[in-house]
Symmetry: none
Subunit: 192 residues, 4 copies
């Protein structure tokens, strides 16, 4: 059944988001998914491949959402704001995705996928920035650097070590979303 494959991926994702790669042993994934360890190897050639897929799937989904949120607007500024807000809102909803982005995966191959994921996130913002710069909505700047900074910024603010404190301090999620959005928009040079 292809249902088991999904169960395995989901179990792996859950374990990573809760306890990091460190606690996501094959046996634990199997237990979480309610299957035997051997079954995991029917669907994935190795633990590495499983976690590469976990990351890929998670990132793909987020990328789609980001681009979708941006596509609902025409102004680059609104696109940027919407993409950031979409990302932040989702991240605040649960720890599922968060951990994977700051984690140093045990395996270099998984790490490569994580790196690719961050790069792809950056590309979403870079595209928006480039269009905005061309339309004079943003000042001239190195869009790649700004995009990387934006990714780093909300990653840190959301899933980084400061996040728990920020969440407590700021008056509810809406407030935090708004703060992050403003910082990132300013970083892009958009005059608020």
């Amino acid at each position: 059944m292809t249902r088991n494959r999904e169960r395995i991926v989901q179990a792996a994702r859950t374990l990573v988001s809760v306890g990091g790669f460190r606690e996501a042993q094959v046996a634990a994934v199997a237990a979480e998914a309610g299957v035997s360890t051997g079954l995991i190897y029917r669907y994935f050639p190795s633990k590495t491949e499983l976690f590469v897929e976990v990351l890929t799937v998670a990132i793909d989904a987020e990328i789609v959402i980001l681009r979708g949120a941006a596509a609902a607007h025409t102004d680059a500024r609104d696109q940027l704001g919407a993409a950031i807000e979409a990302f932040v809102r989702r991240a605040l909803a649960g720890p599922a995705l968060a951990y994977a982005f700051i984690a140093e995966p045990v395996d270099p191959e998984v790490d490569a996928e994580r790196i690719r994921g961050r790069r792809r996130f950056g590309e979403v913002f870079r595209d928006i920035l480039l269009a905005g710069i061309e339309r004079k909505e943003f000042p001239a700047q190195d869009a790649d650097v700004t995009a990387a900074c934006i990714v780093g910024a909300f990653t840190e603010a959301l899933v980084g070590p400061v996040a728990p404190i920020l969440r407590e301090k700021t008056a509810g999620p809406a407030q935090l979303v708004e703060s992050i959005r403003e910082v990132c928009l300013r970083a892009a040079g958009s005059v608020g």
Copy 2:
């Protein structure tokens, strides 16, 4: 001899910066330091404690440098720019510190120290921001959020996945340092 203790910490730091926590086994640290594995346990109760100290020492040193760089200026804008530039320049000089900040440490306790380190970095920027806001150099904003974003921003731009590409693309380190500084200053609301 307390000299051995230093040699061990230095060896551990070297190994982490070169190959990450993954390749920094106790035996490897001992070999790098030129001591026996047993000796490490005379100075540190566990591998975890050793790496907590490695991080603490490294972060302490950076904090001092950051604050020192900022103290050379009076304008908040200049302080912020100097602190960022100091951090970025040092990070570009070598991988020594960089890796430790995005790495997911093997051990939760080490992770806790890493988190504390990032928070302390954030505090440096928060203090500068708060002073600047009070003096109307920066617009009203949540200084904690902005500070976290700044830490995330240059961490990503420096040691994140995009870094290698950025380094190749931008015309030399000086160019990259400048780009990052500008983004962060804009993020703080400083009109360039």
Copy 3:
């Protein structure tokens, strides 16, 4: 269908001759035979039983051929020479049978069958030798020992480690067949 049974045995035989017992897993046999793994267990109670049959069938066929080759002659010397030649020629034609005879089977039970096979090969030669000794074609000797030595001799020359070199060196298969035949005939005491 009994056709499936044959297909399974044939597939197992092919895999063993190509890659040894090591690569002849049940799943691989099933794939090679174009059936499911489960079907194998409908015909054989265990993997062991399957490979015991593989060996038995292969050896039976060879024994028949050996005896047939010998039966075409009346002189013991010619019988011995013909039997050896028949075996050697067949072995040189393909690796099919060869591997199974020096291989240490995974399973003691399969090993027992292999041992039985070699013994039965020895008996073919022992019978020829005994008849030859009685007719004074061969000198008095321990026919069992000589027979075992003959089996060992051509097994080594054919499938042992020296085989590849011998095949390259000697001028074609015909030459090697002749050399082995001569050595074995001399071993039996037949004056060439």
Copy 4:
């Protein structure tokens, strides 16, 4: 201690000779040697390397003995006879060496060493044969083929499946040694 290394090799050798490679798991070797499994990896990079050494050491020792036995004589016939006798006597003394020569080791690398061993045994006999042929003690023949056959012959007679029966049947070890020696000498063309 280098004593442990020897204990490990000896334990591995014992297990192989008693139960074959199949029963010589790392844990079993450790138990037999009275050490922990981890200690084995202090001396050997892998299970494979351990068993390669076990074979190499065993074969080296036998080769020295074979050549030594032959060196005590001047006639090629006597040399050949002495070498065979030496090998056979030792083999009859215990199962230690025996199993390793017919076993198909689990690992290709170990198998390669086994193959090399048999080849080196063959070379001992080939050298003796070549000298004897030159001195007209033996008739013209393919010395490589004869050497391979001799190795195969006594391997089969000694450690092959027929061995147990031969041992029971023949009147004591001395008798069997003599029979094998005679067969091999005849195979070389030496007129007894």
